[in-house]
């Protein structure tokens, strides 16, 4: 019971933090939409072309905008010592990583997911694809959160080259994008593709607490 309370109040804390900085999340979403505008204008008025490459644009922008918020993933808690306090409160580093991953998913990725229908209208994507989009984005963005946790914990002590973290996420998200764009283009093989995505999710989810936890411990040890 005690443990459950700790988890609940971890999220209470994350909620308070994110709500007080709600403009950060909104800025992310604005970035998302402005980029869509730029894509539309740079492609030109051909609605047909836009609807063909629309899904690809959505994925690229989701990836880019979620890497934008990476800096915040652990950095703040690392610098002001909250990571140590959470650990001293009985949460192992691996478990902190899992909690943080879900927190990133809830407070950063879910707003994106909610804005997908509007983006679909802008990009002229057919309505009947919305279900497939939501399914693939739901799993895909959770994978992105896990990858984000791994790469940002790796780069906690990296003061020189922060872009490296984004590159790490992007290179590992290549298969995710292949499969989730496949879902939308080949609806007949929806089941097997969603299973593959789910498999990838399981793998990164299993690796995440170990890799992130170890990196967090390392960074705190040598800070």
């Amino acid at each position: 019971m005690n443990f459950l309370n700790k988890i609940i109040f971890f999220y209470y804390r994350e909620y308070k933090l994110n709500m007080s900085g709600a403009q950060d999340i909104l800025t992310n979403i604005i970035f998302f939409f402005v980029s869509i505008f730029i894509f539309i204008f740079s492609i030109g008025p051909d609605k047909q072309t836009i609807s063909i490459i629309g899904v690809g644009i959505l994925w690229t922008l989701l990836l880019l905008s979620s890497t934008l918020s990476l800096r915040k993933f652990y950095q703040d808690d690392f610098e002001n010592g909250n990571l140590i306090i959470m650990h001293l409160n009985g949460l192992s580093f691996g478990f902190i990583a899992i909690l943080k991953t879900f927190s990133h998913f809830i407070f950063v990725q879910i707003p994106f997911l909610l804005s997908i229908p509007i983006a679909c209208i802008l990009l002229n994507i057919a309505n009947d694809k919305l279900f497939y989009l939501f399914a693939s984005f739901g799993i895909g963005s959770l994978i992105l959160s896990c990858l984000g946790s791994i790469s940002s914990s790796m780069n906690l002590m990296n003061q020189r080259n922060f872009l490296l973290g984004s590159v790490i996420i992007m290179i590992f998200s290549v298969p995710i994008i292949i499969f989730s764009v496949g879902i939308i283009n080949m609806e007949e093989s929806f089941n097997s593709l969603i299973n593959i995505l789910f498999g990838i999710l399981l793998i990164v989810f299993a690796i995440n607490p170990w890799a992130s936890g170890l990196c967090l411990k390392l960074s705190l040890e040598n800070n």
Binding site: S189, S192, I196, L202
Partner: protein, 146 residues
């Protein structure tokens, strides 16, 4: 529960998850991550006109026709079905009858595939040109279609 036991439990759990995930992925990727479709796969599914796809197979023997100096007509086969292909452009060196090829393009008709790109696919067999002649003479040379 001691910390060590907990740790062992988590490691086991992780391994089980990863193993099941790998099995899940391997079980499902068989057909889906293809660079190209084979003609019989195309035959089974519905043909969508003007959708760009890739088809891979072998150039059927005695099907190659030169319409003009840079426009060609041939059939791609996987020994079960074949597809008529038209192509305008430069063919790669390795392109010849009986040789593997991957073509990129779209169906313009139910039966005619208009290729925009033709790639030759070579197989994993390497042998000297002289030996191949000998093998052909004895009839031992027997090329397997994929």
């Amino acid at each position: 529960m001691s910390l060590r036991f907990q740790r062992l439990l988590f490691i086991l759990l992780t391994l089980v998850i990863i193993l099941s995930a790998v099995l899940l992925i391997l079980y499902n990727t068989r057909e889906n991550v293809s660079y190209f479709y084979t003609p019989s796969e195309i035959d089974k599914s519905e043909i969508i006109i003007n959708k760009i796809i890739r088809i891979g197979g072998f150039v059927e023997n005695n099907s190659f026709n030169k319409i003009s100096s840079s426009s060609f007509k041939f059939k791609i086969t996987d020994e079960k079905t074949s597809i008529l292909v038209t192509f305008k452009g430069i063919l790669p060196d390795l392109f010849r009858e009986g040789q593997g090829a991957v073509i990129e393009g779209a169906f313009v008709d139910k039966n005619i595939f208009n290729a925009t790109n033709v790639f030759a696919k070579h197989d994993e067999n390497y042998m000297p040109a002289s030996i191949k002649e000998d093998l052909k003479d004895t009839g031992y040379w027997n090329k397997k279609y994929k």
